[in-house]
Structures are given as structure tokens and as C-alpha cells.
């Protein structure tokens, strides 16, 4: 009898769930950089919900109820992939009860599928820390990858929202033109950074190093995802005498204590980079993100 009541309750609630038709496509962006790209490509045709901010570590996000609620109604999920979100996205996808955005469906988009992956390990063992078998997932630190992802995302948006295909195409053309110009500008500005040696907090910059020809001589995290120990910091300081780095870099969401300590002991500048859109006051959009990153690096390098 009581179970009958529960079933009746469920059936009634089914009717209540009949959704009103919405104007804009709902997009769930896992990281701010994809939200910013969607803003460029989707304009008013998309309604973007950003799951994380630049102050959060995208490896470690709590699968909060608000995220489940927002994924429930999403037409498209844009993730980085390459196991960056492995600690939280699978549980959101499963709990969202939304068939449209499950992996393999057009409503699920992984940016890392469309770029050349770096640091793909030949073997994986957790003794190396929390390694990513598919390669380094922080692909957005190279703006050339943004263009590749933009191309694929444009196709996906058009596929899912045929009615506004022309508008997406127009915005993509406009964006890729501006982005190509910006790439030329950044390339020229960044030439003094070529070969500059630096120490990073986390292995989060592989693609930026590749783009700018920077030389990461060491990382403060001796093992990825594990806090640095005093012995490793002492090693880094000793290493500085032999093969000096010009600066220490870390991302806005990371704790700067270890980086600041090393920088002050070694007498080199410590740079807090925005890492993604919103990571600094200046990095308000995708263009400003790389503008600000370059300015900070150039200033620290004294060039």
C-alpha cells in the first residue's frame, strides 16, 4: 500500500517535469576557459553554466548538488577530458539523469580529443603521483590549442542547434580571424622568452612551455598531486646554484607558500599566473588571459 503511494508520487512528479521550451541552448562548461570560448562562439544562442572558477583546482571539485541540478538540464557538456575531471565528472554525469550528455552522445564534448597530447606517459605507476595516462590534460595553456578546440566545438554547436548554425559559423569565422591575429602578436611579443629557464609548482604548463619554448628545469611538487617536502625544496635550492632558473611560476588556484619560499631563498621572481580566465583581475576573457600571462612572464624575465 505504502509502496503504491510512493509509485503514485513518482508518476505525478513525472508530469510536473514537462519542461518549457527554452530559447538558448544550455551548456555546462567544466572549466572557465571553455566557458569563455563558448561565449565567443555561442553568443546569445547559448546559456552557459560554468562548473568551476579559476580559484578552484580542476582536479579536485566536490560534486555539489548545484552542479548536478545544472547538468540535469544541460544540452551540452564541455569538458577538458584526458582524466582531468575523473574525480568528479563521472559522478555528476551519472547522477544528472540526463541521457543527452552521456559520454559518446553528441551532447558530450571533450576538448582533449582534438589536440595533440603532450607528456603521454610510456608507463603509469602511482609512485609518480596522480599521473594522467592520456597525457597532460592542461591543454588550454597553449592558445594554438584553443583554435583547434574552437573548430571542433563550432561543428558540435551547429550539429546540436541546427536552427542557429549560420550564427555559430559567423561567430567562429570572426573569432578565428581575431585569434590568428592575436597569435601573431603573442608570438612576436614572446620571442624574448625563448629558452628562459623556470621552476613551476605543478606540471600544469606543458603546452605553454611548448608554445613559448620555455625551459621548465624542475617542479616544486616532486610527485604530482602530493605536497612538496622540505627535502625536495632544499634540493631545488641546491640545484639553483648549478643550473639557475629565472623565475618560479604557479597557478592562481594553487597555494603560493612553497613557491614564495623558494623564490625568496633563490632571489628570483615568483609569478602567480592566472592559469585560466578569471585567474587575475586582467584575465577577464580568453584574449586577456594570454595577454596577461605574457606580460607577467616578460616582466619577471626582465625582458
Amino acid at each position: 500500500m505504502k509502496s503504491l503511494l510512493a509509485v503514485t508520487l513518482l508518476v505525478t512528479s513525472l508530469f510536473a517535469s514537462a519542461m518549457p521550451a527554452h530559447a538558448a541552448m544550455r551548456v555546462f562548461a567544466c572549466e572557465p576557459e571553455w566557458a569563455a570560448l563558448l561565449m565567443e562562439l555561442g553568443g546569445k544562442d547559448v546559456d552557459i553554466h560554468t562548473a568551476t572558477s579559476a580559484m578552484q583546482d580542476p582536479h579536485h571539485i566536490q560534486a555539489r548538488p548545484s552542479l548536478i541540478a545544472s547538468m540535469r538540464r544541460a544540452d551540452l557538456v564541455v569538458a577538458t577530458g584526458a582524466q582531468l575531471e575523473i574525480g568528479w565528472l563521472p559522478v555528476l554525469l551519472r547522477q544528472s539523469a540526463n541521457p543527452a550528455i552521456q559520454p559518446g552522445k553528441p551532447g558530450y564534448f571533450e576538448a582533449a580529443s582534438f589536440v595533440r597530447m603532450l607528456e603521454v606517459p610510456a608507463s603509469v605507476d602511482r609512485i609518480q603521483g596522480d599521473v594522467h595516462p592520456a597525457g597532460n590534460p592542461h591543454i588550454h595553456t597553449d592558445p594554438r590549442n584553443i583554435l583547434l578546440v574552437a573548430g571542433a566545438l563550432n561543428e558540435r554547436l551547429q550539429q546540436l542547434d541546427v536552427a542557429h548554425a549560420d550564427a555559430y559559423q559567423r561567430r567562429y569565422k570572426d573569432f578565428s580571424g581575431r585569434w590568428q591575429a592575436a597569435l601573431q602578436r603573442w608570438q612576436a611579443e614572446a620571442s624574448p622568452l625563448h629558452g628562459v629557464k623556470l621552476i613551476a609548482y605543478h606540471k600544469g604548463w606543458a603546452y605553454m612551455l611548448d608554445w613559448l619554448g620555455l625551459d621548465e628545469v624542475a617542479t616544486i611538487e616532486s610527485v604530482s598531486g602530493v605536497p612538496p617536502g622540505a627535502a625536495h625544496l632544499a634540493d631545488l635550492l641546491a640545484r639553483q646554484k648549478v643550473d639557475p632558473a629565472l623565475m618560479v611560476i604557479y597557478a592562481a588556484y594553487q597555494d603560493g607558500k612553497a613557491s614564495e619560499w623558494l623564490g625568496s631563498k633563490a632571489g628570483i621572481p615568483v609569478v602567480k599566473l592566472p592559469f585560466t580566465v578569471g585567474g587575475s583581475d586582467q584575465a577577464g576573457n580568453l584574449f586577456a588571459l594570454y595577454d596577461d600571462t605574457l606580460q607577467l612572464l616578460l616582466r619577471a624575465a626582465g625582458r
Binding site: L10, L14, R72, I86, A97, L148
Partner: protein
Amino acid sequence: MRKTIIAWLLPCMLLVVPQAQAATLDDLQLLKQQMRQMQEKIDKMEAEMQASKQREAEAAAKAAQPVPPIVVQAPPVNQGDAGSGVTRSDANAFNPQISMILNGSYRGFSRDPALFAVPGFATGDAAGLGDRGLGINESELNFAANVDNRFYASSTLSLAPQGGLTVEEAYAQTLDLPAGLTIKGGRFFSGIGYINEFHPHHDDFIDRSLANRVFLNNTFAGDGLQARWLAPTDMYVELGGELLRGDRFPGGGAALRGSGAWDAFLRLGGDVGFSNSWLAGVSWLGNKPTGRASFDNAGAQTGTFDGNSNLIIADMVWKWAPDGNPVERNFKLQSELFFGNEQGAFTDAAGTPGLLTARQRGGYAEAVYQFTKGWDIGVRHSMVFAANSGSAVVPGGVLDAAGQHPWRSSVVLGYANSEFSRFRLQYSRDHSQRLVDHQLALQYIILIGAHGAHQY
């Protein structure tokens, strides 16, 4: 250059040495050896010079080289594919994610744990304390994967330290039902309350609260069906219901032709700014226990119960992390309240039947603060209370609350080297009975295999 000079010098030296004189065979041998060593040294020096020259040249070339032109490189792998780009074709690629959780502990009790009881409560078999001393706890083996495009399945096997394998969970759940519906079938941890659905290695404390232990026998699970509906709203609103076999405490005997337990739950949740989030719920669990056995802490049966059992649980979780980033610091406040009512017949261990009307209340509140990466500290207070009446309640019997209001307070210190290895040290002051029990426990939890995603 040097090589040639020495190559000339050496024969000259040899000529100068009056060979016919005292130069014995041994001396010659020595000389030859020295020559060989010299030659080796020279070769080594040359190789080093060569290498350093090459390095300099490379550095110079690198410095002189203009910045490479912009190349927006397309990946060599298949584009436009929604998959991960991994193109393994062997059969192993479809293996489910496998993980194993190992844990062990040391437990110390100031009183003999065999004497442990919660006055007024006829508890299930898992409500008591563990054994004293060193030992491993149950090891958990989990397999999980998407079955196909419509189902996800997970199975957790528990390996008891004394041997034997039990199926803790084995369920399939839908992935593509419309309108926010999800159906789960099989054996699973019930969705009632907050902490019940979690496996104990997720907990912040070594053991469950006194309330979870006496009301739900640690964890309420069952074989059956669960339906959940997620509302299409900005606020998280979830409604769920379950129909279960009813052979697990607080049920028993699989009444009503094997459908003796049912429940419903409503959960609400959301964010407050960037730094705060919350989840609150209310659940109702009904059972029709028939011949439900209860046990003391030594494993002896204390009686059986037949009748009706109703339990209402209210739960609340509040989490804080600066800017929503829990990596360095975070705080969690969690509480559950239990309101239980049972009517029926209780037959004690001697076989004497009697009537029972039980009104049982309880709850816990805990706060856990991670003060730096890898370290957290937590406090928890739990209390339970039973008001029993009827002919089954006899002085000194298991249902006699004897005016006691059992409570237990715990402090825990946790350390995590990584997400995969954790250690906890817990002290509890247990006032379940008239005499205080001081309890100390040290535990390790190790996860090997696939990286699990954590529920809120």
C-alpha cells in the same frame, strides 16, 4: 692533437730506456699497463671536450635561431570523435574499472568490548564494537563500468578478515531514462539519510555514529528497486523511493512475500556564494520485520521481534571551502536525526514472548576541518534514547533503558599522503552504559586501482 704528441713521445721514451739492461719482463708489463691507462684517460678527455663543444654549439644555435613560426597542429588521431581518442582494440580495453580498498586498525578499549550494549535497544549484528587489538577489517573489491549505452553497473565484494566473501552491493542503473528519472536495481546501500549510501572508507571517522549503528545496523542495504527523480530546477531537488526485500535490520524475515521494506526520500541542495554549499533531506523507512534477530556484542542472540517498524531521518550537510577550492582548507558540518517507532511482539532469548511499543530517538552532529593539505581534525557527538513500554520490557532485560541516555563523543585526526592512502587516529569517550569506556583506534585505508569519483 694531444693524442698525436703522446703517440710520438711514447715510442721515443721506449727507445731511451735501455731495454737490454735491468728492464725485466715485469717492468715492461708495468709500462704497457701504464700506457694503456694513459691512452684511456686521453680518450675520455677527448670525448668530454667533444661533448662540451657540441653543447656550446647547440646553445649558440638555439640562441641564434628565430622563434619558430606559428603552427597550429592538428592531432594525428581521429578528429570529430566524441571518444577519448584511445584506440586500443584488444579485449582488455573493455575491462571494468577495478579498485580494491584495504584497511586495518588497532583498537583499544578500557572496558571489555564483549560487555558493550546500548540500554533500551535490541541491536542488529553489526551495531557493536569491533575486537580489541590489531587486525585488518573487511577488504573491498569494486568493479564498475558502463554496461552499454543504457546501463551502468557496479559491484562491491567484501572480503571478511576471517575468510568468506559477501556481496555488499551489486546493482545496475539506468543512464538514459527521460525526464530526470533513474532506476537502480539489485543489491545496494539505501539512499535514506545522508551517510548511509557511502562506503565506510569515505567517512571522516573510523566508525559510524552510535545512532547509525543502533537504528540502521551501521548501513541499511537491501535487494530491490530504487527510483529517483531529479527536478529540472536550479535548486537541487531529488525525490526517491525504494522497495526492498526486507531481510536486513531494521527489517527481517523478508515479509510480504519478499517485499518487506520500503522507503522514500526527498533531498534539497544548493550553493551559497562560491564558498558554501549544502544538502538537506528527509527520509522515511518502513519495515515489516518477522523474526528479526537481535544480538549482543559477543554475538549471542538477545531475542526476536515481529511487528512494524517506522523510522524518519532528517539530515543536513554544510560544506565550506575558500573560493570553493577544498584542496588546502575546507570545513564540513554534518548532522542526522533519527525518529523510530516500533510496535509488535518481542520474544527474548529464553523464548518468553511479550508485547513491545518502542519510541526511539537519536542523532549525531559532526564537524571536520581540513586545516592544511592532507591533514584534518574532526569532532562528533552522538546520542540515542529509548522509551519502551509493554510486557516485553523487563528490568535488566535488553529493552530496559534503565534511565540511561547513551552518548558517545569522538575526536579524530586524519592524514592523507595522497588521495589513495589515508591514516586516522580516533579517541572516543563512550557513555553508552553506566560505566565510561575510553576507546582509541588507529586505522589505515589504502586504495589501489581505478580512481573513484566521490559523491557529495
